[in-house]
Symmetry: C2
Subunit: 241 residues, 2 copies
Amino acid sequence: MSGTALDSVRALVFDVFGTVVDWRTSIIRELETFGREKRISADWTRIADEWRGGYHPAMDRVRKGELPWTVLDDLHRMTFETLLSQHGIADRISEAEKVHLVRAWHRLQPWPDAIEGLTRLKRRFIIGTLSNGNVALLLNMAKHAGLPWDMIFSAELARHYKPDPEAYRSVPALLRIPASQVMLVAAHNGDLVAAARQGLRTGFVARSTEYGPHQSRDFRAEHDFDVVARDFTHLAELMGT
Amino acid sequence: MSGTALDSVRALVFDVFGTVVDWRTSIIRELETFGREKRISADWTRIADEWRGGYHPAMDRVRKGELPWTVLDDLHRMTFETLLSQHGIADRISEAEKVHLVRAWHRLQPWPDAIEGLTRLKRRFIIGTLSNGNVALLLNMAKHAGLPWDMIFSAELARHYKPDPEAYRSVPALLRIPASQVMLVAAHNGDLVAAARQGLRTGFVARSTEYGPHQSRDFRAEHDFDVVARDFTHLAELMGT
């Protein structure tokens, strides 16, 4: 990225699931702890992976208009119900326990470099989320994990899930700056390609263990992104903070 | 406020102009500095007061549908143009200078107790704005002044200016909690009465010098609000933080 183009960036917004937080380790741990305490035996690792596996299909139903606008908390709940039935344990789990477990997505742990990198970047840039998570989820996560966001941008505010163009365009629109002054940071090539199509700058950070043994893509930047960093502290360094 | 009702509050959202920041001193200082540097003599104090005087009438035009949705930055610009003409100095000020001066509303200084009180409250509560200022204005102000918001809630997100009910209801809707778990903090009785009508809790903090010698109201809480505090550190104390 040329010095001039980099100098014009004023805001960095971050994909969250996988990029900022390690959803898989967190969800497996929550489910296993629950199963142990309640003496419910199940393949909790598989349930965690299938739960996340239902993420894109559920949002696609909203994006295609098969479902009205539905926030991610509610999509998580729908997918979880289906999984509990498929795994034959739906009747072992109370309503209060379901609410608690769906809220596990509000309690995800950040990758070890995330808070230090964000704290450094915050000195010079507006830093925010740009996630398909709803505002309450992202805000509760920030309070729980200590993520120092200046602003929670969310698909919920745009009422469009990424990779719909409206989701990306909502950030420069609310900031009242050109899209070229906003950078999306993500661990997913597809997200960044969609952002670049709307004029945003792009920063790739590989998270090659996001899907554990099932990781099949996004090991490296596959396009000519503006910045490619090893982790968030490296990103902070590359951005001059 | 009873201990039980107070215990249920999870988020505090703040009116900003007058409640968190001292707009009058800041705007007068910016205008006077500008006039001195550019050798443009005018009654800058009066222009500041008239600028703020145009605030409610401009928003009312939007609220009544006479204007389509227009963010506060643009309303500030419209009012400022009118004032410069009325004071006979419109042709002395360049476009870049107008942009700079309208942005003075992004550079307002907080009252001396604001940051300490907010920092304490943030430990236990979600803290956010709930202002008629647009998102960019509030975010730039937060970066400039060091206001530690968790979230920028704004009339812009609801596309309704306070005191429209939708503006207040947007906060519990986005947080996915009952309105009774959200408290609006404001220095203006009318704002709090409108919030209470939508089920929010209310906290009054008097800012008896907000309008300087022109202050004519809001010297004290005129209704039975849930909390009445002398300033933000007192509010933090009353809220147990």
